[in-house]
């Protein structure tokens, strides 16, 4: 949790829109009758995405948790427990872009401090948990994102931007600020996790490189 507690406005009500309803219908089919409470995590995501669509801020307000509880016929506190346990659910508003800096060992060894510094210098956020004054960026620290081969990683909303350094992070942030959405993935042109500059081994395998 952030050291900086900012008071925020909770919406007074929340109702699933048509797009969410369509998603919920699909999700609920995955669970046997009577076990609908298992859908609590996917439904909280539905709330978060709907908030993003409607307010440009992807978060789960308390009334959204209540809507999930009502839909799944479970006590609200059971939903609060789940929503507050996973930090993938934002329980307070976030900026237009949610910058999630991975600081776990592989990313850190590969220069995540530089990614952090770039965010601090150019996104207007000094500390984790902070939202920039213009409402564009919220920065949080996350644990291993599972993409260590392409470390360091900055996750923006749902997209991974990989192989970053200070300058490329700045360029990414500036593009985001302009409303562009650079293609996710390696920022140095690697294909997925393939070696930089193309394959280095198994090049003599028949058919390779053709």
């Amino acid at each position: 949790m952030s050291k900086h507690h900012h008071h925020h406005e909770e919406p007074v009500s929340f109702a699933f829109d048509a797009e969410s309803e369509a998603q919920i219908a699909t999700i609920l089919k995955r669970y046997p009758e009577g076990k609908q409470a298992s859908a609590v995590i996917p439904l909280l995501y539905v709330v978060q995405k709907q908030m993003k669509r409607q307010t440009d801020s992807g978060w789960v307000p308390r009334v959204g948790m209540d809507a999930v509880a009502e839909r799944l016929e479970m006590p609200p506190i059971r939903v609060y427990e789940v929503a507050t346990f996973y930090f993938m659910f934002n329980t307070k508003p976030v900026g237009k872009y949610h910058l999630q800096v991975c600081g776990t060992t592989p990313c850190w060894l590969r220069g995540s401090d530089e990614v952090l510094r770039a965010c601090q210098d150019h996104a207007g956020v000094k500390h984790y948990g902070e939202t920039s004054e213009d409402g564009m960026f919220t920065m949080t620290e996350v644990e291993c994102l599972g993409a260590c081969v392409n470390a360091p990683i900055l996750q923006v909303d749902d997209d991974f931007y990989e192989d970053l350094d200070y300058d490329r992070t700045v360029k990414l942030l500036e593009a985001l600020r302009r409303g562009e959405r650079p293609a996710p993935g390696s920022s140095i042109g690697r294909l997925n996790s393939a070696p930089e500059g193309g394959p280095l081994v198994l090049t003599d395998v028949p058919g390779a490189g053709e």
Partner: protein, 677 residues
């Protein structure tokens, strides 16, 4: 069965038992925080670690099932070290504020740290602090003390059936609470104080009041509902400081309801602490001889059939019997203990008892609840029903106002007596069906018809068998059944409560009779009010005789099952107030109608001679139904049932005088079903 050897002691325990239960069977004490006999197993405190032969590391005994031939060690070097280390972890974030903590002296963490912990901590860093939560006027929270055992979370969800507590956030930020700040809605919330093993949840009214070793502790019985919870009254000097439950598996297990637990401050307020006699239309303080003389003069001027007596919901058996004998001495058959005018048939005990018994609920497989919000009329009994429901294969039907949340799902059958047949098929399909009829359902003009119809239904659906009695009347207060057992009902040619109140008598002796509106008493009736609180009824009195509240006398109470239990004097009655049966005995002597008993032993011998219930204190005669013939029916007028207690927290003279209960009533208000009207 599995054979388990604990520290060299062989015990046989049922398959599926935990290692902890095997250790207990062997008489070994296992320290624990999260484990509780009556809650699901969480296994998160790790305090119950023991060593099991061939297991590579210590195991949490509460969550580890036994195996045949298992060897367990509870006092090895490994176990001792494990306990010390767990304790060191638990204390990392626990404040060392025992000197200002209300749990001090009766704290599991304190006791176990002393018994199983080490002498210091290696932790030098900053401790975490957690914001306190406001969960209502009954429970004080100091959440920094919480060790996150989750007993309160499990109690709320499992026993109380009001899942409002939970653990939010995680890791170092994990907090126990309601997330959205709110007062807990359970009528059993006080039990959270008892199950919390540390000082995180303590009694708000008891905050900074006393230390446990300063209290004189008296085993007694709660009478503010008809369950007859076994309680301990903790007092210091002239004051009751708190009331907590005692274990009685057959009655309350180890729970008690909030009204019984927290109303005791009402014992200090609005008390009648001296006799009063009306002079020139105004009540004036008087002496005991003056009060007795005023009554004696009035009664001697009247024929027996113009004198009457009504006993109420908080009248104890001894005084009810003494009053019955006094009325007999005056030649009056006008006695009635149904001060709420409920149409209760006393011709047979099983017409008015909770025959299945509370423990018998465990065996039932279907129940129809008629005209009773069991949750608010008998919260502990309701928890027993909920416990049975949680085990599955148990159907519940409900007849009464819509919107009553019993804490378990119930099929809504209808709102009035006409609807009760609607659940008959389900009851018929059950092997051991129960019908629970609320006393409130009999407080209506066609109460006799309701009673007869409920009995007939019980008979039709097979609830009345030689080995199973499924007909149950649920009473509301601890003194109600005692009067019925003693036959405190109109004798040959006698008038009932309604007739007496309506002018059928010229002198009316009210013993704790607060169950009706005093304005109903006919003008000109000379009213003697014997009771302990200056509630509405005392204002109608011509003479007030100050009696003792249930904590201030040695008295016998009969719960809704017909189980006689002894309450004991914890403090003395205030001022000139006296034990109630002694008041009547003293009066009888003054008017030369001396009752033939003058000590507790003698009056209790007389009790036992009137009803066998009083000869088997603590026990209940449980059996099947020998005679299927039902109570006499009356004319049925129909109409929806109205629940008898509009405000749970203010239902009797004690709770109405309680400031704590007034705060609760302000927060919780009337029961939802009534608010909707």
């Amino acid at each position: 069965m599995a054979k388990v050897t604990v520290d060299g002691i062989e015990v046989d325990v049922p398959n599926g038992s935990s290692v902890l239960q095997a250790c207990e069977a062997a008489g070994k004490e296992i320290p624990r925080f999260c484990y509780h006999d009556r809650l699901s197993v969480a296994g998160n405190c790790r305090m119950c670690l023991v060593e099991v032969e061939k297991a590579p590391k210590p195991v949490a005994s509460c969550a580890y099932p036994v195996n045949d031939g298992m060897k367990v060690f509870t006092d090895s070097a490994v176990v001792r070290q494990a306990r010390r280390n767990v304790m060191e972890f638990l204390l990392i974030n626990h404040p060392l504020d025992c000197p200002i903590c209300d749990q001090g002296g009766e704290c599991d963490l304190q006791d176990q740290a002393y018994a199983f912990g080490s002498d210091g901590s290696r932790y030098k860093e900053a401790k975490r602090a957690v914001k306190d939560k406001d969960i209502g006027p009954l429970i004080k929270t100091v959440m920094t003390r919480c060790i996150q055992c989750t007993r309160c979370v499990r109690f709320s969800a499992e026993v109380a059936g009001t899942p409002e507590m939970g653990g939010t956030n995680r890791g170092e930020n994990l907090e126990i609470g309601t997330y959205v700040e709110k007062a807990l809605t359970s009528e059993l919330s006080g039990n959270l104080i008892d199950i919390c093993p540390v000082g995180a949840l303590t009694s708000r009214p008891y905050a900074f009041v006393s230390r446990p070793w300063e209290l004189s502790k008296t085993d007694s019985i709660d009478v503010l509902d008809a369950v007859g919870c076994n309680i301990r009254v903790d007092a210091r000097g002239p004051e009751v400081l708190r009331i907590i439950p005692r274990v009685n598996e057959a009655v309350n297990e180890e729970w008690m309801a909030d009204r019984g637990r927290f109303s005791f401050d009402g014992l200090k307020r609005r008390r009648l602490d001296r006799p009063w006699v009306k002079k020139d239309g105004k009540l004036a303080p008087a002496t005991w001889p003056e009060a007795f003389a005023a009554i004696a003069t009035k009664l001697s001027s009247l024929p027996g059939d113009r004198i009457g007596a009504i006993a109420g919901g908080l009248a104890d058996a001894e005084s009810t019997l003494a009053l019955k004998d006094l009325m007999a001495a005056y030649g009056s058959a006008n006695i009635d203990c149904r001060d709420d005018f409920a149409a209760i048939d006393t011709s047979r005990p099983d017409f008015y008892r909770f025959n299945t018994t509370i423990a018998g609920i465990d065996e039932a497989d279907a129940v129809l609840i008629i005209g009773s919000d069991v949750r608010r009329e008998a919260p502990v009994l309701n928890a027993r029903i909920r416990k049975r429901w949680s085990l599955g294969k148990f159907r519940v039907g409900f007849v009464g106002p819509r919107g009553v949340d019993l804490t378990y799902p119930a099929t809504y059958v209808g709102d009035g007596p006409d609807a009760i047949q609607g659940f008959a098929e389900t009851l018929k399909a059950a092997e051991k069906p129960m019908i629970i009829l609320g006393r409130g359902a009999l407080q209506r003009a066609d109460g006799a018809a309701v009673l007869a119809a409920a009995w007939a239904l019980a008979n039709d659906v097979g609830a009345l068998k030689e080995d199973w009695h499924g007909f149950n009347l649920l009473h509301l207060f601890g003194g109600q059944v005692g009067g019925l057992e003693l036959g405190f009902v109109p004798g040959q040619g006698g008038k009932d409560a309604a007739a007496m109140v309506a002018g059928g008598v010229d002198a009316l002796w009210l013993l704790n009779a607060d169950g009706f509106d005093p304005a109903r008493i006919a003008a000109g009736t000379f009213v003697i009010y014997q009771g302990h609180h200056g509630d509405a009824m005392a204002g109608r009195a011509d003479v007030i005789l100050p009696g003792a509240a249930y904590t201030e006398k040695d008295a016998t109470w009969v719960n809704t099952e017909g189980r006689a239990q002894r309450g004991r004097l914890a403090i003395f009655p205030p001022g000139e107030a006296k034990e109630d049966w002694r008041i009547i005995r003293a009066f009888s002597e003054g008017v030369d109608k001396t009752l033939p008993y003058n000590d507790l032993h003698a009056i209790r011998a007389r009790l036992a001679s009137v009803s066998p219930v009083f000869g088997r204190v603590g026990e209940v005669a449980r059996g099947g139904c020998a005679d299927m013939a039902g109570p006499a029916a009356g004319a049925a007028t129909g109409g929806a049932f109205v629940l008898p207690l509009p405000v749970y927290h203010q239902a009797d003279v004690v709770s109405r005088a309680s400031d704590v209960m007034a705060q609760c009533a302000a927060i919780y208000g009337p029961a939802p079903a009534l608010a909707a009207e």
